[in-house]
């Protein structure tokens, strides 16, 4: 019945493999370090590469699970944290906290980002309504993203520090580099909880395939479900954005692949979407390290370069299906 929670083993193995690769690659420098001084090798492994891999996994998992839940809730395959403005709302919240309120502790940043994500999601629900047409949802999301982006720029322009723009650039583009284990844990703990709690909602989300009325007749409280998803998404995305900045497209792409594994069921796609999201972000991070450009790319650029063409192909596919 609707509680099917099995995760395909190859998916689990793939995510685990990417996690190990993320620790091991590039191999030559690690090998050389271990040969010279094992303690230095361990330091690089535990203090540089482990937080990076953990962050990629949990951030990707949060985006995947939140995207899957949002898509199920809005009955729309284009609902995702970035296209609905949640990510940019979180970024705005963090920038205001850091540069205008001058509060830079991880907790303050996270609270600011969570508040920003909340604001964006409630604005979206107010603007687009609970079961939005694709056009309404995308337009409302676009408007919120644009507004949040403009306000972020404004906040940076008004910031007392003349280096605010330069400072914020790397972070706004999304980055997993040079985060400490403590920071990784700070994002990982709420993110992990959010993924598990979203996965618990899967019977209710699956029943939404039949529409909100039937879901209510089944005994699911839709208003409460909506509130849960908004709160959990804001918490998970907010905590990750506070540490790693805004990363796009993973929350859109991962649930779409996940539903292929669950034969179209949106609710039981939450956990597979989390694993796919984590795997995608681990893979994107490997690309940033291994791309032969002589320097590290911002990870948000990689996900956007891979994700945008996929998004466009979705739009074209929809146009064909609608026969226009």
């Amino acid at each position: 019945m609707s509680g099917d929670a099995r995760i395909p083993l190859p998916l689990l193995a793939g995510a685990a493999l990417l996690f190990l690769l993320s620790l091991a690659l590039p191999w030559t420098s690690l090998d050389a370090l271990f040969a010279r001084d094992p303690s230095l090798g361990w330091a690089v492994l535990v203090q540089l590469r482990l937080p990076r891999a953990v962050l990629a996994l949990v951030y990707g998992a949060t985006l995947g699970a939140s995207g899957a839940a949002a898509q199920a809730l809005f009955a729309n395959p284009l609902a995702s944290p970035d296209l609905t403005g949640t990510t940019s709302g979180a970024a705005l919240g963090a920038v205001v906290t850091a540069y205008l309120l001058a509060l830079t502790s991880p907790l303050a940043l996270a609270l600011g980002a969570v508040a920003g994500a909340f604001g964006a999601l409630f604005l979206l629900l107010a603007l687009a309504g609970p079961r939005a047409e694709t056009a309404t949802l995308l337009l409302a999301g676009l408007a919120i993203s644009a507004l949040a982006g403009a306000l972020t720029t404004l906040a940076l322009a008004l910031a007392p520090s003349p280096f605010a723009f330069y400072d914020a650039y790397e972070w706004l583009m999304g980055s997993l580099v040079d985060r400490s284990l403590a920071q990784a844990a700070f994002a990982a703990v709420p993110a992990f909880a959010v993924v598990l709690l979203l996965a618990r909602l899967r019977p209710a989300l699956d029943s939404l395939t039949l529409g909100e009325e039937v879901a209510e007749a089944f005994g699911h409280d839709i208003a409460r479900l909506r509130l849960w998803i908004v709160c959990l998404t804001a918490l998970g995305v907010g905590a990750c954005v506070a540490i790693c900045g805004a990363i796009g497209f993973v929350g859109l792409v991962a649930p779409i692949f996940a539903r292929r594994l669950t034969r179209g069921h949106p609710g039981r796609a939450v956990l597979p979407a989390a694993l796919i999201g984590g795997a995608l972000l681990l893979a994107a991070d490997l690309v940033t390290r291994l791309a032969p450009l002589g320097r590290t790319l911002p990870i948000g650029v990689v996900t956007a370069l891979l994700g945008a063409p996929f998004f466009l192909s979705l739009v074209v596919g929809m146009r064909w299906r609608l026969g226009r």
Partner: protein, 238 residues
């Protein structure tokens, strides 16, 4: 023994006035009434959709006190909309209600079970959704226009199927086809203006004068339904 259905004080603001409904045992109860008369609202109130006022007891149990896993065996609801949000297969959709095989076969869908629901015709999709409601094996089966979109043969097969269900469950179906309702129902409820206007034996109700008042149609020559002529009957002037 408590009645199979006991509903009291059911109301949805602006749509359904305070309404009671009681059925001792299984049977087929058809709801008829003009557009906007409250058929769907009564079904919603019985299914607990849209935070209705009042109380519903099904075989003595309160549905709102049960978790979804238990509640699905108490009541099932088929909405008038045949929209399905995600392109799952017909079998997977029916399985959202319960074991899909028997309902799929009963609705002639065995050959279409693996087909995605967005690639079915509207009538086929209607049958899939009816099969989903049946798969719950509920005590109270609430159906909003189950015969809509079905071809004449399937309308009759559906009503036969509902008659069989009505041996063990209470089936409440909102219908527009008065002939179909009158022929198969054990009990007919006529809705008007958000409340129950008439409740009784179908043949007597369909032959009586109240139908002309509520619907503005009457039986003409050869038993065909026709619009009540403005001059004919003084009661039709309302």
């Amino acid at each position: 023994m408590s009645a199979l259905l006991e509903a009291a004080g059911l109301a949805l603001p602006g749509r359904l006035e305070s309404t009671g409904l009681r059925a001792e045992g299984p049977g087929l109860l058809c709801l008829v009434g003009p557009n906007g008369s409250g058929k769907t609202s009564l079904l919603h109130a019985l299914a607990g959709i849209g935070r209705p006022q009042g109380t519903v007891r099904i075989a003595g149990e309160a549905p709102e006190a049960l978790a979804p896993a238990a509640r699905r065996h108490l009541l099932a609801y088929l909405p008038a909309s045949r929209d399905i949000a995600w392109p799952v297969s017909a079998r997977d959709l029916v399985a959202l209600g319960g074991d899909p095989e028997a309902p799929l076969a009963a609705l002639g869908l065995a050959g279409l079970a693996e087909r995605r629901v967005d690639r079915l015709s509207t009538g086929e999709r209607s049958r899939v959704l009816i099969a989903r409601a049946l798969a719950q094996r509920p005590k109270l089966l609430l159906l909003d226009e189950p015969a809509a979109n079905l071809d004449p043969a399937w309308q009759l097969k559906l009503m036969d199927l509902l008659r069989r269900e009505a041996e063990t469950a209470l089936v409440v179906a909102a219908m527009h086809d008065l002939d179909l309702a009158g022929r198969f129902a054990d009990r007919l409820i006529v809705m008007a203006g958000g409340r129950i206007a008439e409740d009784g034996e179908p043949r007597a109700l369909l032959a009586g004068p109240r139908l002309a008042e509520v619907f503005g149609v009457e039986r003409g020559a050869g038993g065909r339904w026709q619009l009540v002529s403005p001059k004919g009957d003084p009661r039709s002037s309302r």
